[in-house]
Symmetry: C2
Subunit: 241 residues, 2 copies
């Protein structure tokens, strides 16, 4: 278990613009650990005592239904934060968290965040901004479950990945393996395979391992975004740059 | 257009516990109108200048994809609030809003809320609580789209309605018509009809117009909640009472 510096925390959006003494205090209670793939950080229903920041690797958030089906709620990557919304009554984790790819995770006490949120309005407003953004993403995802085909949902994931990568070339790198990606998109592995084959035919893309090559993004965006209420390129990713 | 009293606003969760002078100021810029079914309050992409509270009737929030499919994001009822999450940059409405059942709507300027959020920590924390709750609901909805059948999704809606009604008897009143309910649950009307028939057979419930009669909620909850990660009764509704 290692200590965390205030400088490392200042890159995380919910700590943006905080005074150095506030950042120092938060950092003094933060710890980072390297966790191996498969490690469970917490289980759905556990009392929520910490929130977490992904420094490297990937974290899978999932739930299991009473009859044993697993749903992947999200897969988190570098600088993503989770558990920070558990600030109020009945603060039990609403999902389980598992390390999906070995990496470094920072953990911080929720009691500190709760205390600071009431004392320091900058933190309350930063949290509000972060959680509002998450809410908008969930709305878009729910819309897509209704309007997009499995093939288009994969296309949407790839287009958003291309915007995040900002390589300027239409080469898209899958951030994690296809099994996990299928689960993240709410698909059975067979559905995912069939849909990916269809997407190759529709767009002329070539897949080499984790790399996807396209001549341009035009065919992919025309095919995918016709069933979305937002025009490509998505503003939330463009504004980030 | 009528004025709104501070007392009327104080019942809305995001205004809970505010000082009387803050409530008076907010109320002084609030207006209420009676709108007829079909009236459009705003269109997806419009610049967001107001947020709204439903005093009576129902409001449908929806999006239209570029190829013309409509997705219902939510249907709001008495004391529900919407548009309050548009506090940050690029504040354009992420969906359209239409009056689904004639009623009274209170409108308030977002610029006031934004100003107060930076000045008044009570409002920032109240907003955070409200938006966190919404986020948890979306996560559960996304889970259900993956794990529950159409029949179970209707069952879940009915069980949650029974908890909200708190009549103590397993008589559930549909809050709005079946066409709108089908759209709210992301189903085609035919899928909804078939799924509802299946639910009647599975649970022995009787439907008379908008009223659903059951001997107990046990059969309905056993059938529905087996494909959910949360045990019946749902805590978020129990804690409200």
């Amino acid at each position: 278990m290692d200590d965390v510096t205030a400088a490392a925390l200042s890159k995380i959006p919910i700590f943006n613009g905080l005074e150095p003494d506030v950042l120092d205090k938060i950092a003094s209670h933060a710890h980072q650990n390297t966790y191996k793939k498969g490690k469970i950080l917490f289980i759905h229903g556990d009392i929520a005592e910490h929130y977490y920041i992904v420094k490297s690797g990937h974290v899978k958030l999932f739930r299991e239904t009473l009859d044993g089906t697993q749903t992947v709620i999200d897969v988190l990557s570098e600088n993503d934060i989770f558990g920070h919304s558990l600030l109020f009554e009945d603060n039990r984790y609403p999902s389980s968290a598992e390390i999906a790819q070995t990496g470094v995770i920072i953990s911080l006490p929720l009691s500190d965040l709760r205390e600071e949120m009431y004392k320091n309005n900058d933190i309350a407003v930063n949290l509000l901004r972060a959680i509002t953004l998450q809410l908008n993403h969930k709305d878009r995802e729910l819309e897509h479950r209704f309007t997009q085909s499995a093939t288009q949902r994969i296309g949407c994931f790839l287009l958003r990945q291309a915007l995040k990568d900002k390589t300027g070339r239409p080469v898209i790198t899958l951030p994690y393996d296809k099994m996990l990606l299928a689960a993240r998109l709410g698909m059975q592995p067979e559905t995912f395979s069939r849909a990916l084959s269809r997407l190759k035919k529709k767009t002329g893309m070539k897949i080499e391992g984790a790399c996807i090559h396209l001549d341009t993004l035009d065919r992919l965006s025309t095919y995918t975004c016709s069933s979305c209420s937002v025009k490509f390129p998505c503003k939330d990713l463009i504004n980030k740059s």
